[in-house]
């Protein structure tokens, strides 16, 4: 009895953690500034998964997979890292001029199945997914996920080296530089799925400060056939840009793949 209750609880947890439920919560890396001058600037970054943009009201982001790339391609380590309940924080020291990418790429796999009358959940690396489900399991659902959360900051003149693509999952190929955004202007970005233009992809653009408005003021923009979206910024501020593709064919037999891309972009007056 106790064991089956536990199994039930695990199953509930699995439902709560499934990507469908997770999309209600929004992941973000929010930099204190994105356009910097001087020889020795720092930025502070808040990292959270919240309901309201950009108010840390739900969970801190785990920083294990945070990768900061300098303009010359070197990896920069986050400094002054702190893990609070609702948000994690870290600093980035911009020792080089140019554009940095701050990213958290969460890659993994899960399997949900029923065996011996119980619902089970497995989580791990995508390479172990094929072997994760025991023989005799029923109601099997294998999911691979690649969830990329990014932001960009620039010291001095913007550079483009950090936009190099991996051709895996959803990625942003900026046409307009993401640290060169101004209210009233139109920015263009190309979104790629596995390196190919994500034509027709629906992209959510949501401004921060949602707590102080009744209207969330979000827009959904469809990418054209070349995967390009055009956004005319109505006002200065921090914006959350997000797109997801679900139930793509996975690498493991019978697996589906969910991919997601998120960026936080600053628009200046």
């Amino acid at each position: 009895m106790k064991r089956s209750l536990l199994a039930f609880a695990v199953a509930l947890g699995a439902v709560a953690l499934s990507p469908a439920a997770a999309t209600a919560h929004r992941a973000w890396l929010l930099p204190s500034d994105t356009v910097l001058s001087g020889a020795d600037p720092w930025v502070g970054v808040d990292a959270a998964i919240s309901n309201t943009l950009f108010h840390a009201d739900h969970n801190a982001m785990r920083l294990d997979a945070v990768m900061i790339t300098a303009p010359d391609g070197a990896r920069v380590l986050p400094e002054n890292v702190g893990q609070a309940r609702y948000r994690a924080t870290f600093d980035v020291h911009l020792r080089q001029p140019g554009t940095y990418k701050i990213a958290n790429v969460m890659q993994g796999a899960s399997a949900r199945f029923r065996i011996d009358g119980e619902e089970r959940m497995w989580r791990g690396a995508a390479k172990d997914l094929a072997a994760a489900v025991p023989a005799g399991a029923t109601d099997v659902r294998r999911t691979e996920s690649l969830n990329r959360v990014e932001t960009f900051v620039t010291r001095g003149a913007p550079t483009r080296t950090v936009f190099a693509l991996t051709n895996a999952g959803l990625e942003l190929a900026p046409i307009t530089h993401p640290n060169d955004l101004a209210a009233g202007e139109t920015a263009r970005f190309r979104l790629l799925l596995d390196g190919r233009p994500a034509g027709g992809l629906k992209v959510t653009v949501a401004p921060g400060g949602a707590r102080y408005r009744d209207d969330p003021a979000e827009t959904e923009i469809a990418a054209d056939a070349e995967g390009v979206i055009a956004i005319t910024w109505p006002a200065a501020g921090m914006y959350w840009l997000n797109a997801a593709q679900r139930d793509l064919p996975g690498a493991a037999p019978g697996a589906v793949r969910n991919v997601q891309y998120t960026a936080v972009l600053q628009v200046l007056p």
């Binding site: 356009v35 910097l36 001058s37 001087g38 020795d40 620039t154 003149a157």
Partner: protein, 172 residues
């Protein structure tokens, strides 16, 4: 087509070489009654008809701060920073200087030096931007015709700048 006709106009006028002229800029830093006043950072630059920068004439900031620490706030001159500043290295000889107190300030830029030396004759806009710590930011623009000395053009700011005027003067 447009540049062709402009060139024809100047050929017809047989204007002297542009370097013979100077550009005199006057700008007013308003006196503001605030609890904590800091003189604004000011950038003065030239814009082409398409609003791109044709050169920076002056950047007035906290040049005396140790380790060029004042450069940390140059990005607050947002318009200039985006058009020109972020591609420059400051301090720079002949460009950077100390901030100016409230009052009317006149700066004359030598046509044989500075960004004016290589500026082709034609219609431009002079832009003055001021950004103040614990205060606001404002850009004021006034037109001038490089290569054609004439009357001053003026424009007036509403918050961080007062009257701005620009005049092309023959230095001969």
């Amino acid at each position: 087509m447009r540049s062709f006709s402009l060139a024809a106009v100047f050929a017809g006028l047989a204007v002297p070489a542009a370097w013979a002229d100077d550009l005199t800029v006057t700008f007013e830093v308003p006196r503001l009654r605030t609890a904590e006043y800091h003189a604004p950072y000011v950038a003065i630059w030239i814009e082409r008809a398409d609003q791109t920068s044709a050169g920076t004439l002056a950047v007035l900031y906290d040049v005396a701060a140790p380790n060029n620490a004042g450069a940390e706030w140059l990005k607050d001159l947002r318009t200039w920073w985006r058009k020109a500043g972020r591609d420059m290295t400051l301090p720079a000889d002949g460009l950077s200087g100390a901030t100016r107190p409230p009052g009317r300030h006149t700066m004359t830029f030598d046509g044989a030096r500075s960004a004016l030396r290589t500026l082709p004759p034609g219609a431009y806009t002079l832009a003055v931007e001021a950004a103040r710590e614990l205060g606001g930011r404002e850009v004021v623009r006034a037109p001038f015709m490089w290569g054609a000395p004439g009357a001053a053009a003026t424009a007036t700011g509403a918050s961080e700048l007062g009257v701005v005027s620009v005049v092309v003067a023959s230095s001969r």
